[in-house]
């Protein structure tokens, strides 16, 4: 188990190295970073300062190492758009808003997706099952940005039930939360449904029924536990998507989180902020994957005990 955890950790680190190289080379290999990275109206004095700061007179390798060194200390340089703040402080300011939205998304994903999936499996073939599958199909096919705009149009403009955008009260989180969660709900619903259907066909579940246990008891007690392992590990990637893929939703609802920040920063060519966001997001993804890996390994004795999975 320890060896497995260590290997997972190592892989995660390698991933981060790869991302940092990608981000770094994008800033260096596309020409003189001073042209790309610096604001347009830059004085000669500032330019000299930037050259010294980024060590542009040194070799690429040295530049990369100092970039990583600084990044590890949370130093991505000052934000271009807000010169008195650093890139990291700009992000830190916005992060809680994204987490707030992400938590609502996660809660909806689990709280709605799983029960719907279980019910669909338990009543396979019923009208309810068909409706749930329709919802799942819709959630996987609808472009989020368009759904968001349409919801604003219907619920905020036409019906005037909810605020159009921004971060004002609890009502303002409803629409972005629902749009964000829709994909996760769809994924969880389908995963739980198919996984449960599979478990419901196994011998021990049939035996439980033969013993005279009620149908609902069998579904909830016997089938659910083993049937939930697979989908829940997939939840890792759903959660990552929720916490990081909020950009589009935040833009439409003018939600002041890091997704909107990334968009604004990219438009303002605030490169340090975009760079820092890209790296921090990959770090979050790597951590999430690591957590999923370890949970999975812990649940599966073959991995936990260091045996090779049976073929």
């Amino acid at each position: 188990m320890a060896r497995y955890a260590l290997l997972s950790l190592l892989r995660g680190m390698l991933t981060l190295v790869a991302v940092s190289i990608a981000v770094f080379s994008l800033s260096r290999l596309t020409g003189d970073p001073r042209d790309v990275l610096a604001p347009e109206n830059l004085g000669a004095e500032d330019e000299a300062a930037l050259t010294a700061k980024w060590g542009l007179d040194k070799s690429l390798m040295e530049q990369y190492l100092s970039f990583v060194g600084n990044a590890l200390q949370g130093d991505f340089g000052p934000s271009f758009k807000y010169p008195e703040e650093t890139a990291v402080s700009v992000i830190a300011e916005r992060l809680p808003k994204t987490l707030e939205l992400g938590l609502v998304g996660v809660a909806l994903t689990l709280g709605v997706g799983i029960p719907l999936g279980i019910l669909a499996a338990a009543r396979r073939g019923s009208w309810y099952d068909r409706a749930a599958r329709g919802l799942a199909l819709f959630g996987q096919s609808v472009p989020e940005f368009w759904l968001a705009i349409m919801m604003v149009w219907i619920f905020a403009v036409q019906l005037a039930w909810l605020p159009t955008s921004g971060h004002t009260g609890w009502q303002s989180i409803l629409m972005p939360g629902i749009v964000m969660a829709l994909f996760g709900v769809a994924a969880m619903l389908r995963l739980f449904r198919s996984s449960l259907l599979e478990t419901l066909g196994t011998e021990y579940v049939k035996l439980a029924r033969l013993k005279g246990l009620s149908r609902s008891r069998v579904v909830w007690k016997h089938a659910l536990k083993p049937g939930a392992i697979g989908p829940l590990t997939f939840f890792g990637s759903v959660a990552v998507r929720l916490l990081t893929g909020a950009t589009v939703v935040e833009i439409v609802f003018a939600w002041p989180g890091v997704g909107l920040l990334a968009y604004e920063a990219a438009n303002a060519r605030d490169f340090p902020v975009v760079q820092a966001l890209a790296l921090m997001t990959s770090a979050a993804i790597v951590l999430m994957n690591l957590a999923v890996d370890l949970t999975y390994a812990w649940l599966d004795p073959r991995v936990r005990l260091g045996q090779k999975a049976a073929v």
């Binding site: 991302v19 994008l26 940005f145 599979e198 833009i251 975009v274 890209a278 073929v311």
Partner: protein
């Protein structure tokens, strides 16, 4: 042969826990792998056994995506990029003030919305076709090699897959765009870079189980070379998965392209990408809702249809569900 259907799932889920369990096709799958013959499911099984062609989705794919992409210039008299300012913001034909020359209305610059949607299909189709071809070729080659040879090749490929699947695509796209600006090539590269990993992961899992099969062992005994075994024996047996996955991924790519275009990191203006059209319509949603509604509807219908056809293909190619067992 229940062997092929039942093992890959376990293998992809258990052998590669780092891939977050469950494979892409499984994640999207409705069909349970083991059917229980004892349970009464009248309607359901009848529907399955029929396994009719999904006519409506196929119809939508042909008439909203493929035909417009090929025939756009001949289907419409208007120019997708230039309009008459005198024709600005004309509503759809069935509304008061509509003009039968502009069936779905016009935008702020007097361009016909329907024309732009038709040309937009061309962009969606080109982007997804290129990305899927690259993804299929690169992904299945690496997946076959990793699954077949195992060992160090497998480790390297699996790590690459993990890495590329955990790239923050939207943010990297924004990084690239803030550095070098949006372009056709940029968006195709961004999407291709992520899409191959999905194929590699799936094909690797399937290859792992096919490798252990009797016919591969026999081919080996008969003296077939590795290349011959991979091409003649493994590839045909993972081809079904490849077709299903490719179909489903076309929808994913179209969604991805339109999202990136929407945030300004995809197809540059004034090209009529569906995502760009929705973005342009957004500020005018109060006065000119048709600018947003119709291109978004085009995306929704096409992706929905692709998903339905993909689901149908998977059921159709799976002998168990096809025979309605």
């Amino acid at each position: 042969m229940s062997f092929r259907r039942s093992t890959p799932r376990l293998l992809t889920a258990r052998e590669t826990p780092s891939l977050s369990g469950g494979s892409e096709v499984d994640a999207l799958s409705d069909a349970p792998r083991s059917d229980d013959p004892d349970r009464p499911r009248r309607k359901w099984s009848r529907r399955r056994r029929g396994s009719r062609l999904p006519w409506v989705p196929l119809f939508i794919i042909v008439f909203v995506l493929i035909l417009p992409a090929i025939l756009a210039p001949w289907l419409t008299p208007h120019d997708p990029l230039r309009g008459e300012l005198g024709d600005r913001l004309i509503p759809p034909v069935w509304m008061s003030g509509g003009d039968s020359e502009f069936l779905l209305g016009t935008d702020k610059q007097g361009r016909d919305v329907l024309t732009r949607i038709l040309y937009g299909a061309r962009i969606s189709l080109i982007v997804s076709a290129v990305a899927i071809v690259i993804g299929t070729v690169v992904g299945s080659t690496l997946g076959l090699l990793a699954g077949f040879y195992g060992g160090i090749i497998d480790r390297v490929v699996s790590w690459l897959v993990d890495t590329f699947l955990s790239l923050p695509v939207v943010l990297l796209a924004l990084v690239i765009v803030s550095a070098i600006g949006p372009s056709f090539i940029t968006i195709i590269s961004i999407i291709s870079v992520t899409i191959w990993a999905v194929f590699a992961r799936q094909i690797r899992g399937e290859t792992l189980s096919v490798r252990e099969s009797d016919y591969v062992a026999r081919a080996r005994v008969a003296g077939a070379s590795d290349l011959r075994i991979i091409v003649r024996h493994v590839l045909p047996n993972v081809a079904n998965t490849l077709v299903v996955l490719a179909t489903l991924q076309v929808g994913v790519v179209i969604l991805e392209e339109s999202s990136l275009s929407f945030i300004g990191a995809g197809i540059p203006r004034p090209q009529p990408s569906w995502g760009v059209m929705v973005a342009d319509g957004r500020e005018l949603i109060l006065s000119a809702w048709w600018l947003t509604l119709f291109p978004g509807l085009a995306i929704l219908l096409v992706v929905l249809s692709l998903n339905l056809v993909g689901d149908w293909l998977r059921d159709f190619m799976d002998p168990q569900t096809r025979q309605g067992r």
